[in-house]
């Protein structure tokens, strides 16, 4: 029995990866939830918006690297991120003017907007593949580890080595900064409050003189920031492939719905709920069991609920369960 080793294993394979993944899902779900709250539809193009923003950021990163610009021990992509966000914002605003505004003026039903967003999804998807290709891209540079397993073992004398990757820490810190800035914006600025008012009661917002087009514009700007940041962090942590980002749509929607659609705090909590559920149900617990249980009790199997191939089933199950039993989610969002 060795509790310390068990904790290290748990950190390595469950807590650290699920926390990074949770932060990425939370940022993605925040974008979905903002659009749902303000524009009142589920944006199926969100995964591909993340992919597009990331692709642009990768191209800019490569340009920086070619020009010899780096960010020291940090990934160059963080330097390219603001530019990637700006380009994505322009594309989203263009999409809004060219596509969504038409349906908004017609006061189209949400389900029509959902289908429209699927059209946008296909276009975004094609655009991304066109500019960067369909293959896997690895664009993380800078220092890979903050603590590496070998050093850790030497330092502590434990059998298991803790590995803390730079990207995990960057993901978490960036997410915290972005979320804090977003909440500050929504709760303490005139524009932010007008967005909340618009989400709460559109007619009364109009009666108060709030300009709906301005609210919508600001929403797309925020969504560009959230989606691109989420996509770049995910890509740094794992790798970038357009198809993977399309697949992320499911856990992101699960996160937004679990927390309560339209509720920003819910999106964050939902992101971590989905991430931990997914990682914990696809992790083979045998190694942890071997450290904490007496040898005679350690089972022969892997103690893995699902293989990682089925990880999306977890999000799907969560989504279905929430919609069946508590459609408004944990934080009483809007029912779907």
């Amino acid at each position: 029995m060795n509790i310390l080793d068990a904790i290290v294993v748990l950190l390595n394979y469950v807590i650290i990866p699920a926390t990074s993944y949770g932060a990425q899902l939370a940022l993605g779900a925040l974008g979905v939830t903002l659009i749902y709250g303000i524009l009142r539809f589920s944006n199926f193009a969100h995964g591909d918006t993340m992919a597009f923003g990331t692709a642009v950021t990768i191209l800019i990163t490569w340009a920086f690297q070619a020009a010899g610009i780096t960010f020291g021990p940090l990934p160059t992509a963080l330097l390219a991120l603001p530019l990637g966000i700006a380009v994505t914002a322009l594309v989203l605003l263009f999409t809004d003017r060219a596509v969504y505004r038409f349906y908004r003026r017609k006061k189209a039903a949400p389900v029509i907007l959902v289908i429209v967003s699927m059209g946008v999804m296909f276009v975004m998807n094609g655009l991304t593949r066109l500019i960067i290709g369909v293959q896997d891209q690895n664009f993380a540079d800078g220092q890979r580890f903050i603590i590496n397993a070998f050093q850790f073992r030497k330092m502590t004398g434990l059998a298991q080595g803790l590995a803390l990757r730079t990207t995990s820490v960057i993901t978490l810190l960036t997410a915290i900064i972005v979320v804090a800035a977003l909440f500050w914006f929504l709760n303490h600025t005139r524009t932010g409050k007008s967005m909340r008012a618009f989400a709460d009661n559109e007619d009364l917002a109009l009666l108060s003189g709030i300009n709906p087009e301005r609210v919508v514009t600001v929403t797309w700007l925020l969504v560009a920031g959230l989606a691109t940041t989420a996509g770049v962090l995910y890509g740094l942590d794992k790798s970038f492939m357009p198809f993977t980002y399309f697949q992320l749509l499911l856990p992101i929607f699960a996160a937004a719905v679990v927390g309560g659609l339209g509720n920003p705090l819910g999106a964050i909590v939902g992101g971590f709920v989905v991430a931990f559920s997914e990682v914990m149900s696809t992790y083979a617990w045998r190694m942890v069991a071997a450290y904490v249980l007496p040898r005679s009790l350690v089972p022969g199997g892997l103690m893995q609920l699902l293989t990682t191939d089925y990880k999306f089933a977890v999000s799907f199950a969560i989504l279905v369960a929430v919609l069946l039993f508590k459609p408004t989610g944990i934080f009483k969002g809007k029912s779907v």
């Binding site: 409050k193 009364l204 917002a205 108060s208 003189g209």
Partner: protein
């Protein structure tokens, strides 16, 4: 007496193909209180929405201080000094009392604190609960938030659609007193009321609407005294 300060004149129109309002006229003089009463579904709320530009009129005109504003959007009417408290959904439920008031003042760029202080004087309970979400308040307190939000624009004319709906009799008297107080500051008030007797009591002018048309129009006092009105609309 000159032209009324705000008038919706000979308004005809509705939500779709069928007209709800038929040649309906409602108006309020400067600094006075005008009250609209009538049975459920008479079109009182519809008339208010028409005056506020939330409904397209097929015929008729809306004039504010002599200016034709029929084509103005609701937001433009807010900027012109009109404020409206709808019958339902008239507060931002998820926002604090103070934020509700701030949103009322959204179009203003000057210091809104004196106005807010005046509203807290008018409705002291709101000051106490200013950090609380409007959705957590009682019905009467919500109506106070709704009226407060509308007053934040410093309107010249305040339109209220059943401000006392669903509140206890004590709170109702209290709200009527506040409305009189507001009108004393020079704000014209155009209001729809279910509690016809009490409302006509404080009204300078009263309108009885039936099926989207004017049935009786007179001073509040005269309507209260009219035997026909008493029999049909005031329960004897």
């Amino acid at each position: 007496m000159g032209a009324p300060f705000l008038i919706g004149e000979k308004m005809t129109g509705g939500y779709g193909a069928a007209d709800i309002l038929h040649d309906c006229t409602i108006a309020v003089e400067k600094g006075e209180i005008a009250v609209i009463v009538g049975p459920n579904g008479a079109g009182k709320s519809t008339a208010m929405k028409a005056v506020f530009g939330m409904l397209t009129l097929r015929h008729g005109q809306v004039r504010l201080d002599g200016e034709d504003i029929t084509a103005f959007s609701p937001q433009a009417r807010v900027a012109k000094g009109m404020a409206f408290v709808p019958q339902t959904d008239n507060v931002f439920l998820s926002m604090s009392v103070e934020e509700n008031l701030e949103m009322g003042a959204f179009l203003r760029r000057d210091d809104i604190r004196p106005t807010m202080a005046r509203i807290y004087d008018l409705f002291p309970v709101l000051k106490e609960k200013r950090r609380q979400a409007a959705g957590e308040l009682s019905g009467g307190q919500r109506q106070q938030v709704a009226v407060g939000r509308a007053l934040m624009t410093q309107p010249k004319v305040l339109m209220l659609d059943e401000p006392t709906a669903g509140v206890s009799p004590i709170v109702m008297d209290e709200l009527f007193d506040r409305i009189i107080e507001i009108s004393r500051t020079g704000i014209s008030i155009l209001m729809v009321e279910q509690n016809a007797r009490q409302a006509l009591n404080i009204a300078d002018k009263g309108y009885v609407l039936v099926q989207g048309a004017n049935r009786y129009t007179d001073t509040g006092e005269a309507l209260l005294a009219d035997p026909d009105v008493r029999k049909t609309f005031l329960g004897g």
